[in-house]
């Protein structure tokens, strides 16, 4: 066992994503547990610029791999397989991002190593890898033990600190020539589109009234709109409301919607799924109205009302009229 860790960073449209720097934190910690080095790889895009941004104190090696501008799972899978053969790490770390979901299982399968996804912490003691992850909509945490010399783990974005210190490291930067079998590339990215535009920018609002599944049906929307009007707030929502077509996509807060940082975020009938929390946890003050005192949103809330929103919201409207 080398104890080494190989982490594959992520970038989009010319910028490294935050999870890349979180991978450094998670990777360093695991490499220390295993007594090995931390190797990063950056695949595609402006790899030299990315390598200098990634060069932080805790990184030992950075592999740069020229391979087009953007993520393509067919090339990423092939390149990662070859990097893995070069480094022979004891752990392969990947982001549990949308693109991570699009290639981590393929790599693990190809390398015939076990995969544990969506890790919220990880460690290795006495040779055994332990990964903490959540189940049942964040209601419980589990420990998953991997009894194998090597494993692939995808880490949940925004769960680790970002390792700071751009350009301060003295990592060895190595250009890696991958051999791509073009006949195995059967998907082509043809473009990107921003879909959350529109007349209202919820990321600019200082007071958001945000609704989730708890409002039950579209007919209850006018009640919330009355509250929005009475308080001069901006209306936003969690994903199911947008999936149901009750509000447009530009109102969605979360991983696949907007990241918001209002002074006050009033979460009404929102349980606090991790994808939603990713978009609103930077709010200055979080208030939750929910019947379930154990809902994950309660862990984030600064203030809470544990009661039926259909009883509380009319009273709140009245307080401002």
């Amino acid at each position: 066992m080398s104890g080494d860790v190989l982490a594959i960073t992520e970038h989009r449209q010319g910028e490294l994503r935050d999870v890349s720097f979180e991978l450094i934190t998670a990777g360093r910690q695991l490499a220390d547990d295993q007594g090995g080095d931390l190797h990063l790889a950056v695949i595609g895009g402006d790899v030299d610029t990315f390598a200098s941004e990634l060069n932080r104190e805790s990184v030992d090696t950075i592999f740069t791999v020229a391979a087009g501008e953007e993520f393509n799972h067919d090339t990423y899978t092939q390149i990662t397989e070859q990097l893995y053969a070069e480094v022979e790490p004891d752990a392969l770390l990947l982001p549990n991002s949308v693109n991570g979901l699009d290639y981590a299982p393929a790599i693990a399968g190809r390398l015939d190593v076990p995969l544990v996804t969506d890790a919220i912490s990880l460690s290795r003691a006495d040779g055994t890898l332990e990964v903490a992850r959540e189940m049942y909509g964040s209601k419980v945490e589990t420990t998953v033990t991997v009894d194998a010399d090597t494993a692939a783990v995808s880490i949940r974005p925004a769960e680790w600190e970002i390792t700071e210190g751009e350009g301060q490291g003295d990592a060895e930067v190595r250009s890696f020539d991958a051999d791509i079998d073009e006949s195995a590339v059967k998907s082509t990215v043809t473009g990107f589109e921003e879909v959350a535009g529109g007349d209202v920018d919820i990321s600019e609002a200082n007071f958001l009234v945000s609704i989730g599944r708890g409002i039950e049906e579209e007919d209850n929307l006018p009640l919330i709109k009355d509250l929005v009007e009475a308080t001069d707030a901006t209306l936003s929502s969690s994903r199911p409301i947008v999936d149901n077509g009750w509000l447009p996509k530009n109102r969605q807060v979360g991983q696949s919607g907007k990241v918001v940082t209002p002074d006050v975020y009033l979460a009404i009938g929102i349980s606090g799924a991790v994808q939603h929390v990713a978009g609103m946890k930077g709010s200055d003050t979080i208030v939750a109205i929910n019947t379930d005192s154990n809902a994950p949103i309660m862990d984030l809330a600064d203030y809470a009302i544990v009661d039926d929103l259909f009883d509380v919201v009319p009273q709140l409207i009245e307080a401002f009229e």
């Binding site: 799972h73 067919d74 949308v98 979901l101 299982p105 393929a106 399968g109 190809r110 076990p114 995969l115 996804t117 969506d118 959540e134 189940m135 049942y136 909509g137 419980v140 945490e141 589990t142 420990t143 033990t145 009894d147 974005p157 059967k186 998907s187 082509t188 043809t190 473009g191 589109e193 921003e194 879909v195 007071f207 308080t231 199911p240 999936d243 149901n244 996509k249 969605q252 991983q255 696949s256 907007k258 002074d263 003050t285 208030v287 939750a288 019947t291 005192s293 154990n294 309660m298 862990d299 600064d302 809470a304 009302i305 009661d307 919201v313 009319p314 009273q315 709140l316 307080a319 401002f320």
Partner: protein, 263 residues
Amino acid sequence: MKILVTVKEVAEAEDEFEIDGLDIDERYLEYDLNEWDEYAIEEAVQIKESGDCEVVSVTIGPERSEETIRMALAKGVDRAIRVWDDDLASAEMIDIGTKADILASIVEEEDPDLVLTGVQANDDSFGATGVALAETIGFEWGAVVNALDLDRDDGVAHVRRELEGGIEELTDIEIPAVLTIQTGINEPRYASLRGIRQAQRKPLDVSTLSDLGLGEDVLETPVSRTAMYEPESEGEAVVFDGNPEESATQLADLLRDKGVVEG
């Protein structure tokens, strides 16, 4: 054309629950069709309605999960396969690789042009079965698909993949392929009474591992769940007590204090 939709019966925990060993006590769990899979079923049925196509569903699950898969049949799936046996029932954990191997043997039997599956299951949230299956069977794939335009003549699926931050990626994927379907891609239909009646008459085969030519070794995995616990509450929320009027008054005062609401 044939589409295989992999579906899963998932457990949902009640608001209040107890943990018994490595799982939530059975008394506090309710079972339902995985939300993401509902969208995958709907997508397949819509493709079927637009042209000559058979839709087959497969699930790995105990007898109880037949209720779930009947729901898929009621929504327009033509026939269904359930994989289960004593070995699966006694397995500690059916991990990603095992699921992919089992589903791969179904793909081998059915020879579909397209496999649709939900992005993830909302109980264990591994989010990996679809892409792992694609790798196992040598199909192309696409994960987190929120729009699908299938060009059968050219053998290409034009998809949109929902990235983070309100950005969608447009990708062309050669079929045969596995696509993992994101919620919101369509509006899943309710099963009609007629559909529910018809579902009772549609074929539902039960296969064991040995029926599929798989040995017990397919269940071997180095991955195991060794603990389950309630997360330590980090919450230090100030809870506004009282009846709705009283708690709303306290909240109104807070909103005024914070300066976000006047009056």
